[in-house]
């Protein structure tokens, strides 16, 4: 959104500008590094294989967070992401069990399914004028019901190559393949998009709908586009679920609400128009690592829920305090 210093000749200034714009994400990365350090102190044997497990475990939520971030940046919210993930996950798992040989076509088909689900969500929001939160809440019932139609109990299978691209490591032992896959998928879609006029339009309708409309942005179409991307990344999340667990489960996980938590931690404003994709992904890893640490400490596993909730509230309170101070002073 902010004007880029593309013609600024001196690199340090541009670097500083970049760091300023991404200060929240960088701070989160620092926090992640700090927690990683604490992890090593608690458990000196924490190493490459544990990092791989962390990346694998965090992948579905990371996809959910990206989906939610895009929708929220455009000024909406999608409470059906968890259900869409369940639906795409069971569809992939059920089909791949029956026709393992067609797995590539199935994966593509599931991604198209995600796009269709997202377009339906977005179109309903645009044509009914019902608040996003209500439409997507109701649609979460619809998609969860559809998931039950596809597969009544957890089952199905994952193709070997699909499981392969999220397990193990690439190059060095220390680079989890799941992380690389996640970054490649998100990067290939988001980076070109963000620099395009469509990406700018997403931020535009999120930060000021009327101004965007008067500047010639097709508000309705952009909104549908945002939900479509949300559906697409939910489908990636569903595939990640199938790939990492080897099955599909029709019961939606807590990905919708945890995704909202992650994007807020990641610096996306629920009011729309502010934030990015990197912050939420880092936030997902911070949350996952905190849970690991609590387990390592032998804390009651239930306490990790408490800590997650407390971190969520604490960070948001801190953020709003900063905003308030800035507003006063």
């Amino acid at each position: 959104m902010e004007s880029r210093a593309t013609d600024g000749p001196n690199l340090p200034a541009r670097l500083r500008h970049w760091a300023q714009r991404n200060s929240w994400t960088l701070a989160l990365l620092g926090l992640f590094g700090l927690i990683l350090l604490i992890t090593y102190i608690i458990q000196p044997s924490y190493g490459a294989s544990e990092l791989r497990a962390l990346a694998i475990g965090a992948m579905p939520l990371a996809m959910a967070a990206v989906a939610q971030a895009i929708v929220v940046i455009s000024g909406g919210i999608d409470l059906s992401i968890g259900s869409m993930m369940a639906l795409t996950s069971v569809t992939a798992a059920a089909l791949m069990k029956n026709q393992p040989e067609a797995s590539v076509a199935i994966v593509i088909g599931v991604l198209v399914l995600g796009v269709v689900l997202g377009v339906i969500n977005g179109t309903l929001v645009v044509i009914t004028h019902v608040p996003d939160i209500v439409v997507t809440l109701a649609m979460s019932f619809v998609w969860a019901g559809a998931a039950l139609v596809v597969l009544h109990t957890p089952g199905g299978a994952s193709a070997d190559w699909l499981t392969g691209i999220v397990s193990g490591s690439i190059g060095s032992d220390w680079i989890p393949r799941a992380l690389v896959t996640l970054l490649v998928i998100v990067g290939v879609i988001w980076i070109p998009l963000r620099r395009s006029s469509a990406g700018l339009a997403l931020y535009g309708i999120g930060s000021n709908r009327l101004a965007a409309f008067r500047s010639g942005v097709p508000v309705g179409r952009t909104k549908v586009f945002a939900y479509m991307l949300g559906g697409l990344f939910s489908a990636f999340g569903g595939l990640a679920l199938t790939a990492t667990t080897g099955i599909g489960s029709p019961v939606p996980g807590a990905y919708t609400l945890l995704g909202v938590a992650a994007i807020v931690l990641g610096g996306v404003s629920l009011a729309g128009g502010r934030g990015g994709i990197a912050g939420p992904i880092v936030a997902v890893f911070v949350l996952a690592l905190v849970r690991t640490d609590l387990t390592l400490l032998g804390a009651n596993s239930n306490l990790s829920t408490v800590v997650q909730g407390t971190i969520l509230i604490g960070v948001v309170m801190f953020g709003s305090l900063l905003t308030m101070r800035r507003a006063h002073g």
């Binding site: 139609v149 909730g309 509230i313």
Partner: protein, 332 residues
């Protein structure tokens, strides 16, 4: 409203349509009640002989806790907020009551349950009102915190067992005279208090004011944070009543007791015509909304829809009702 009414064009069909639309807009309870009657008739057609006093009683019994959870949502939505912690707060209250009744006796156990709920509401209110945390995030985060704490608590009191005090059992699942469920004894006064309170009390009007135009409310001297703290405490207490009643119906308590009812409670408030954007709505619509959702569930069960199809139709109908509603209210 009256100025909008004068803008309705005169003449022929458009006047009729305008009048019809105005009726729906100004008296939303009439179409909602119509929808409810339609669903009841549909149920009787789908499975003749269903509609009898006992059915009415059991439907009301199931709808009352939903309507109480819907009250939390309605009040929060009037201020432009939402309370997603009602599920865990309600379960928590029921669980504390059930596990402490054997140790402390029913009355202290109930007091403890309400105290815990009020505390949760206070934290929500401080977060939303003073620290300006988005209500969705605040109530969601606090829900996580409470769930975790209750899991720890569960391990501590694992030997206590769960007891439902007789009075709660009577309130939750008993019936008086032919078929009226006893939970009405609790619900009717609460409902009247909320409806009258929203209309006539200062606090009720402040809820509308804060939700309708927060800036104007602040400039007129309203301390929004006090209103919000009061609101979220009230919301948590209502949720606690709902949770305890549900425990009285199912005669046990667990930490996931009320989870399934949170989103239907939001849906009940939305169907009942309360705007999630704040400043518009009321509680009587929510009560009808809770009844509609309960009857709808029975209808779908009577039609022998599998669980999956029930969920799909449930969601589709909520979107449809909300869409019709928005169309009627927005076009003025």
């Amino acid at each position: 409203m009256s100025s909008q009414a004068e803008m309705v064009p005169a003449g022929g069909r458009s006047a009729f349509a305008g009048g019809w639309r105005r009726l729906l807009r100004d008296r939303p309870l009439i179409p909602l009640t119509g929808l409810l009657v339609l669903l009841v008739v549909g149920l009787e057609v789908a499975s003749p002989g269903t509609i009898k006093p006992a059915w009415v009683g059991s439907t009301i019994r199931a709808a009352v806790p939903l309507a109480l959870l819907g009250a939390s949502q309605t009040l929060a939505m009037l201020t432009g907020g939402i309370d997603l912690s009602v599920g865990t707060v309600a379960s928590m209250a029921a669980f504390i009551m059930a596990t402490q009744t054997g140790q402390l006796g029913p009355v202290p156990a109930l007091l403890l349950a309400f105290l815990a709920a009020a505390l949760a509401g206070l934290v929500n209110g401080i977060g939303v009102g003073i620290f300006k945390v988005h209500p969705l995030i605040m109530t969601l985060g606090l829900g996580l915190v409470i769930l975790g704490l209750m899991n720890v608590y569960q391990l501590v009191v694992v030997t206590n067992g769960t007891n439902i005090p007789p009075i709660i059992d009577w309130l939750g699942s008993g019936t008086t005279l032919p078929f009226l469920p006893n939970n009405l004894f609790l619900f009717v006064p609460i409902a009247l208090l909320i409806i009258a309170g929203l209309r006539y009390s200062g606090f009720g009007r402040l809820l509308f004011a804060v939700g309708d135009n927060p800036v104007a409310a602040r400039l007129s001297g309203v301390r929004a944070w006090q209103v919000l703290v009061g609101l979220y405490i009230l919301s948590a207490l209502l949720a606690a009543v709902a949770g305890i009643l549900i425990a009285g119906i199912v005669k046990t308590a667990s930490l996931a007791l009320v989870d399934q009812s949170v989103l239907p409670a939001v849906a009940a408030a939305v169907i009942g015509g309360t705007s999630i954007m704040g400043g518009r709505g009321g509680y009587s619509g929510t009560i009808i909304g809770a009844l509609i959702l309960t009857v709808l569930t029975s209808l779908l069960i009577a039609l022998q829809m599998p669980e999956a199809v029930r969920q799909i139709l449930f969601g589709a109908i909520i979107v449809a009702v909300a869409a019709v509603y928005t169309r009627i209210v927005d076009v003025s």
